[in-house]
């Protein structure tokens, strides 16, 4: 092969040297590239062929470096289509090295992706576990302070429609409130968690009930109207008390913070507030909240068992609310199991036949509770069927937008605010 003209930068001095390149030796392993001055023919360098790599390679420009030279930044530049093609033909290792490098990059990419995938999986499965451990370290007094602080946020949250968190019956001594207090005391008897449960039935047209961190439980008037009998009411109340006692709200706050970090890591913007963050958190929290709902259901069944009332009616109320929540339905399509079916099975299995017909509240107590929020100023009384599409599209859309799932565990909505 003919000698090829090139430019050499030896990596030591910035000067450009006009050189002639000659390939010596027939094998890639033992051969060398001899680089000499164009004018004086003085040899500047001998580069072993096996150590050569292409820095940039186009049809008209080839830049070569060497891994064994004294100067890792030494570069040989060959210009012109004919010379570039000739050198590439003579040095088959150049192309092979490029290919090997691409393969190595691909492997690293796969490994990094797999590692990130594992981290995500660890978060999805581990965040619930870790947040439980972390919450165990948080003093209950602190949790209660936190709950008190977000009552204001919760109020704002539900005051956007026609609803409020205004208590239907503020007198603690009224028959209804005494009945509810009796239930709370019985349900939490023997459970020592330091969480002090307070239940308020509030005037709100959204069929909902939720518990805030620290033990505050809200039961909305619209859900009370939809509760067909006292056992349905007692069951849902027990479910919310379960959320409060097991501190699900705090767990969600901790988990939301964790998932926020994770999504930031994926997107490369730890403090960015992007919709991707929101979607990612929803995906992870959906899984998490399913566990919470099951746990709360189990707690409610345990209470029913202990206090000897038939909690079967609770399932219908829970399902009715669940069916109205578009967001949770959309999310449950992605989650491994739909939310309601699984819970329905648990609830159905948990109601013993021996409890059929037994109630906790006396008929008088139940009547008092039902009348708590009358005289009715909401105009929704006749509309007791809360499932299925109806004229209250506006309200239901509000449910969808505000609470990402049914009977939100505390921290829903707030969770994403507080977690940033």
């Amino acid at each position: 092969m003919a000698d090829i003209r090139a430019r050499l930068h030896d990596g030591e001095v910035a000067r450009t040297r006009q050189v002639i390149v000659e390939v010596a030796g027939s094998s890639p392993e033992t051969g060398t590239l001899i680089i000499r001055d164009q004018a004086s023919a003085e040899v500047y360098a001998r580069w072993p062929r096996h150590a050569l790599f292409a820095v940039t390679a186009s049809k008209t420009l080839l830049r070569i470096g060497t891994t064994t030279g004294a100067h890792q930044n030494a570069r040989l530049t060959i210009e012109g289509a004919a010379d570039v093609a000739a050198l590439f033909d003579t040095l088959p290792t150049l192309a092979a090295k490029q290919k090997a490098n691409r393969a190595a990059q691909g492997r690293m990419l796969v490994i990094a992706t797999a590692a990130l995938g594992s981290v995500i999986a660890a978060f999805v499965f581990g965040v619930p576990l870790i947040s439980r451990q972390i919450v165990a370290l948080i003093p209950t007094a602190w949790e209660r302070d936190f709950g008190d602080r977000i009552v204001g946020q919760a109020e704002e949250f539900f005051a956007q429609g026609s609803g409020t968190l205004e208590r239907c019956d503020p007198r603690p001594g009224s028959e209804a409130n005494r009945a509810i207090a009796r239930f709370v005391a019985a349900a939490t008897a023997g459970v020592d968690t330091g969480i002090d449960i307070r239940v308020d039935v509030v005037r709100n047209p959204v069929p909902n009930a939720f518990a805030l961190p620290g033990g505050q439980v809200y039961y909305f008037s619209s859900l009370l109207e939809a509760s067909s009998n006292s056992n349905a009411f007692a069951g849902v109340l027990a479910h919310e008390i379960g959320h409060a006692i097991e501190r699900h709200g705090m767990e969600q706050v901790v988990a939301t913070a964790g998932t926020g970090l994770l999504v930031g890591l994926v997107v490369g913007d730890v403090f960015g507030i992007s919709p991707a963050l929101f979607v990612g958190q929803q995906l992870i929290n959906t899984r998490f909240s399913r566990d919470h709902e099951l746990a709360a259901d189990q707690f409610a069944l345990g209470v029913a068992q202990r206090l000897e009332f038939d909690a079967g009616a609770m399932a219908t109320v829970l399902q009715a609310v669940a069916a109205d929540d578009v967001a949770s339905r959309a999310m449950s399509l992605i989650a491994t199991h739909p939310l309601t079916d699984e819970r329905e099975a648990v609830l159905a299995a948990g109601v013993g036949p021996d409890l059929a017909g037994k109630t906790f509240f006396t008929p008088n107590e139940w009547t008092a509770i039902q009348l708590m929020c009358s005289p009715d100023q909401l105009g929704t009384r006749q509309n007791t069927n809360i499932s299925g599409p109806n004229s209250e599209g506006q309200n239901q859309r509000d449910v969808t937008r505000k609470s990402s799932k049914t009977l939100p565990a505390p921290g829903t909505g707030k969770g994403s605010k507080t977690g940033r």
Binding site: R7, H9, D10, G11, E12, V13, A14, R15, T16, V55, T56, R63, H71, N73, A74, R75, T77, Q105, M108, L109, A112, T113, L116, G117, I120, F146, R149, V253, A257, G260, L261, G264, L265, V266, V267, G268, D269, V270, F271, G272, P275, A276, V279, D324, V326, R329, A330, M331, L333, I334, P389, N390, G393, Q396, R397, T400, K417, T418, G419, R420
Partner: protein, 401 residues
């Protein structure tokens, strides 16, 4: 030093890259971001830099970017070690009452502002030590924390003086950056001064105040006369933005040109002539491309949506929100996420192609190195700096070239 050659011709910068080449690179890279859960961004950034560097020539010799995706990936992991505790403090603060949360967040915000200064200086060091020209790498000395505190102090001063201190800040920080920049054994020197940009900057500052007052008067008039007022306000707003774009282009081009031209590399001088009209042309082209793309996309989406709703037309008036959602099926959510990502990707591509690349081209093609033969005897010096700064910049959501 300069006796080595006779009658040295200046080196004129050249950029030989094709926009379509970058487009293909970006398109492929953004698609690969999806299956790699975003990890590919480190590779994409590396490829973009390789592309820009390797097609930029001075005196017929290209720049070379020697950084790897792996380095930036590791830098990001190190940066996380800093961000996780900071993030934890943020998360804790948001659970506090409003006063504590407010004060805490403000303090953390200031800390992050400080950290961005640190990150930008360290990131610059990374890029310089991964830049070769004629086999010699650049490097950077100086303290990133010192730079961060100076920048932080200047930000406060500029805020307090309603922007009047800006020329002083710009010149001071520029000098600090370039006086600590080295090409091998040769240190760069900059004599950038606030006077270089004082003329246009203070002129536009005064004009801005006058126009802002005029704008408020117009709004006042509009409130008095609601009918004709709406038109008046939109025209005034438009003119105001045009003015801002104009002011920015004039000041930025002047700043770049004068500051870069204040640099010398030993006996070699740097000259940059960046015209305001070139910058304006760049922004106008970007605005046009963006508008055309937006129109095309909304037409396509409109057609798709119309198709969907026509198929439901009979029932549509009676359907609630949920039923529509149900009709859309589980695909709706994925469709929404996909559309959102596609929007981001298109915007990123257009920004890279018509702002970042155009600007790089303008600067590269308008740089001249006078008396370049003085550089012939520069020797190699400086090590590759760690990629921690790059990681910080990535964690901040940056991705500067």
């Amino acid at each position: 030093m300069s006796q080595t050659e006779i009658a040295p011709e200046p080196f004129v910068g050249q950029f030989k890259g094709q926009r379509t080449h970058l487009f293909l690179l970006l398109g492929r890279g953004l698609l690969l971001l999806v299956p790699t859960i975003g990890i590919y961004r480190f590779w994409l950034l590396t490829q973009k830099r390789r592309f820009l560097w390797s097609r930029t020539f001075f005196g017929g010799e290209p720049l070379e970017y020697t950084g790897t995706a792996r380095e930036i990936l590791f830098g990001f992991l190190f940066a996380l070690a800093v961000f996780v505790p900071v993030y934890g403090v943020f998360a804790y603060l948001t659970t506090q009452d409003e006063l504590v949360a407010g004060i805490g967040s403000a303090v953390m915000g200031l800390f992050l502002l400080l950290l961005t200064g640190f990150a930008s200086f360290r990131s610059r060091r990374f890029r310089l030590t991964r830049t070769l020209w004629r086999g010699i790498r650049f490097h950077q000395t100086g303290s990133a924390w010192k730079y961060a505190f100076m920048r932080f102090g200047w930000f406060i001063l500029v805020t307090l003086t309603a922007g009047l201190a800006f020329p002083f800040m710009a010149a001071h920080l520029f000098r600090y950056r370039f006086n600590h920049t080295w090409y091998g054994t040769q240190r760069l020197k900059s004599v950038a001064s606030w006077r270089h940009i004082a003329g246009p900057f203070y002129l536009f500052w005064v004009l801005f105040v006058v126009l802002a007052v005029a704008f408020l008067v117009v709004i006042g008039a509009a409130i008095a006369e609601p009918d004709a007022g709406a038109v008046l306000v939109s025209v005034a707003t438009l003119l105001f933005f045009v003015f801002l774009g104009l002011a920015y282009s004039v000041i930025a081009s002047r700043e770049r040109s004068r500051f870069v031209s204040s640099i010398s590399i030993g006996d070699t001088g740097v000259r940059l002539r960046l015209r305001a009209r070139s910058l304006i042309g760049m922004y106008v082209l970007f605005a046009i491309v963006l508008t055309i793309t937006a129109v095309v996309i909304s037409l396509a989406m409109g057609a798709a949506a119309a198709g969907f709703f026509v198929s439901l037309q009979a029932e549509l008036p009676n359907m609630s929100f949920e039923t529509v959602m149900q009709a859309l099926g589980p695909g709706a959510l994925f469709l929404a996420i996909g559309a959102y990502l596609a929007f981001l990707a298109i915007f990123a591509i257009l920004t890279d192609l018509f702002l970042a690349l155009s600007y790089w081209k303008l600067v590269a093609a308008n740089i001249e190195l006078t008396n370049p033969s003085a550089l012939d005897n520069v020797r190699a010096e400086g090590e590759e700096a760690p990629s921690f700064g790059e990681g910080l910049v990535d964690a901040f959501g940056g991705g500067a070239y």
